[in-house]
Amino acid sequence: MTLRIVTPGLFTTVQDLGRVGYQREGVPAGGAMDRLALRVGNLLVGNDEGDAALETTLLGPAIGFDEETLIAVTGADSGVTVDGHPVAPYHPALVRAGATLHCSREIRGCRTYVAIAGGVDVPPVFGSRSTYVRAGFGGCDGRALRAGDVLPLGEPGALSQRIARSLRADGQTLRVAAWSAARALRARRADRAVVRLIPGAHLERLDADSRARLFEAEFRVSASSDRMGYRLDGVELALREPLELLSEAVVFGTMQLPPDGHPIILMADRQTTGGYPRLGEVASVDLPVVAQARPGDVLRFRAISLEEAQHAYLLRHAELAQARVAISLTGI
C-alpha cells in the first residue's frame, strides 16, 4: 500500500519517536515534535505508538489514497476533510480508495499528525524513520515531502484490520468512528499557555530580576523557531556574571540562555550537546504544548519540582496505557 502527496503543504515530514542510542555519535534524537499526538494517532489506527506518521507544519498537505486506508488526525486541528467530508480530529476514520485528504488554511496550533494504519514504511536510518533535514537522512530521502512523492505503507496489523472492519460501509467516501481519544490525551491550546519548567543547573546564576521575570513575564515565540529550537523574545534575562561552561548533553525541552539574553527551548532536532547555561528543562508532559506553539504565540513559565513532573509523566503514561487497552478491544 502507498499514499501519494498531492500538495506538500509548508513543511511536511515523516516522523516517529526518533533515534535512541546514537547521540554519542553526534546524531540528534529527532522525531515527532508533539510526541503525544503521534502516539495517540498511532493508537487510534491500531499501530504501535512509535510507528512513523506525517507531521505537518502550519499549512498541511493534500494526500491521495489509492486504496482504502484507515487514518487518524491528531495534534493541531487543521480542519481536515476527505473529498469535502470533515474528519473529526482524534477519531479513527476509514477513507475510501481514490479519495483525497485536504487541510484547510486555518490551523489551531502548529503541527498536525496524520497517522496511517501500518505506518509509513520508509527505510529506518539509525533505528528510526524520522526525517532529519539538516543532515539529509531519514524519512523520504532526508527531506520535506514534495508533490508527487509516493510513500510506502506497512501492512496493517490485526487490530488495524478490526478497527477498519468496524467502520466499513458500502459506498461511503469516509466513515468516522463514533469513539475517539480521551480529552486528557488531546492537544491543548498553546497560545498563552503556562509551561512548567524543572529548575536547571544554572537557574541560580540568573540575577534576581531575571529570575523573577522568567516566572512572571510573557515570552513570545520568535519567527526564527523551528524543529531544532524555539527562540523566545520579549524579555531579556541576564546572569549575575558570565559563566564559562564545558559543552555537555542537552535534552528535548532544555531551556538555555545564549549571551544575547533571549532563552531558547531546545526541541526535537536539537544538537546533542550545548555549552550555554541551562536554566531548566520543560516538564515532559508540557512538551506537546510547546510543540504546538507557533511564531507569535505567548508562553509563560512556572517552576515545577522533579517529583511533580515525574508524577505527571507517570499519570500520562497510565492514561496512554488505558487508551491502548480500550482500543485493543475494538471489534472483538
Binding site: V20, F126, A135, A201, L246, S247, E248, T254, A283
Partner: protein, 261 residues
C-alpha cells in the same frame, strides 16, 4: 537544584559521592556529582576541565555503565567531563518504594563504585589526509599572517602535533580535538560562513576539527580532507570516536582528488 527528589541525597553527602581513593596510577579524579536533567534524564559530572585524565574517567564510567544492566536506562551521552543518563521513569517506578531519580542514582553509584581507568582499550591512531590552502583551505593565509608565520610553517605545526578526541557532539560525527599548538591558536572569524563544505579542517580558538557535513561555521578553514568523517551507510557512521589519537598528514591536490574519488 531545588528538585525535591535530590534533597535526600543532597543532605546525605552534599550531592557529591563516589570518592576515588588516590591509588598511584589512577587519575586525580575525586568526586562525581549527580543532578537531574529534566524528568527523564540526569547528568553525572565527573570533572570540570578538558584534559586527558577527565576524558579517561568519562570513558571508564561510560564503559562501566554500558556493561551494567541497569533497568530503565535508555541512552548514555558522554561529553568532555560528564555523562547524561536518559531513563524512563515509568520503568523505574515499577515495584519500587523510592522515587525514580533516587532509585537510579543509587544504582549508578553502585555501578560506578571503585571506578578505575586501567582497563580502557588502547587508543587508536587515526591519520587524516589534508590538502592545505588554496580553494580547499581559504583561510590558511589569514591564519599565517595573524601569527607572522608562513603558510608552510602553519601546516608544519598543524601536522606535527598529535591530537586527542575529547568528545563527539554538536553535529553528527563532529570530533572536538585537543592538542592544537599554542602558536596557531586563532580566535574565530568575526563573520561565520553560512555553508562550510564537508571535510573542511578548521581552527577555532584553541580547537581544531573537521566539519563532517555541510554546515554554518565560524572557524578558520585551513584545508580539507577527502575522508568521509560521517557516513550514514557505515557502522559506526562517525569516523572518529572519543579517545582516538589523531594526526593530520599533508597531501597534494592530486592525492586529495584520488582519495576523494
Amino acid at each position: 537544584m531545588a528538585a525535591t527528589m535530590s534533597c535526600e541525597l543532597a543532605s546525605r553527602q552534599s550531592g557529591f559521592t563516589g570518592v576515588w581513593r588516590g591509588t598511584p596510577g589512577r587519575s586525580n579524579f575525586s568526586a562525581m556529582h549527580f543532578a537531574p536533567l529534566g524528568d527523564r534524564a540526569l547528568l553525572i559530572t565527573l570533572g570540570h576541565t578538558i584534559d586527558d585524565s577527565t576524558r579517561r574517567t568519562v570513558q571508564a564510567a561510560l564503559q562501566r555503565l554500558d556493561g551494567a544492566d541497569i533497568p530503565g536506562i535508555t541512552e548514555l551521552v558522554p561529553a568532555f567531563a560528564s555523562i547524561a543518563v536518559h531513563y524512563d521513569p515509568a520503568v523505574l517506578a515499577e515495584h519500587a518504594a523510592a522515587p525514580p531519580y533516587t532509585r537510579l542514582v543509587s544504582s549508578l553509584e553502585g555501578a560506578l563504585a571503585d571506578l578505575a581507568d586501567d582497563d580502557l582499550p588502547p587508543a587508536r591512531l587515526v591519520e587524516i589526509p589534508v590538502c592545505y590552502g588554496g580553494d580547499l583551505g581559504p583561510d590558511l593565509g589569514d591564519v599565517a599572517a595573524r601569527h607572522e608565520l608562513s603558510a608552510d610553517e602553519v601546516i608544519a605545526l598543524h601536522t606535527a602535533a598529535e591530537y586527542r578526541v575529547h568528545m563527539i557532539g554538536f553535529m553528527p560525527g563532529f570530533a572536538y580535538l585537543g592538542g592544537l599548538p599554542e602558536a596557531i591558536v586563532t580566535p574565530r572569524r568575526d563573520t561565520p560562513r553560512t555553508a562550510v563544505p564537508a571535510g573542511s579542517v578548521g581552527i577555532g580558538g584553541a580547537q581544531t576539527g573537521i566539519y563532517p557535513l555541510v554546515s554554518p561555521g565560524g572557524w578558520h578553514l585551513i584545508g580539507r580532507t577527502p575522508l568521509r568523517m560521517f557516513d550514514v551507510s557505515r557502522k559506526p557512521a562517525a569516523l572518529l570516536a572519543t579517545g582516538d589519537r589523531v594526526r593530520f598528514r599533508r597531501v597534494g591536490e592530486d592525492e586529495f582528488h584520488a582519495l576523494a574519488s
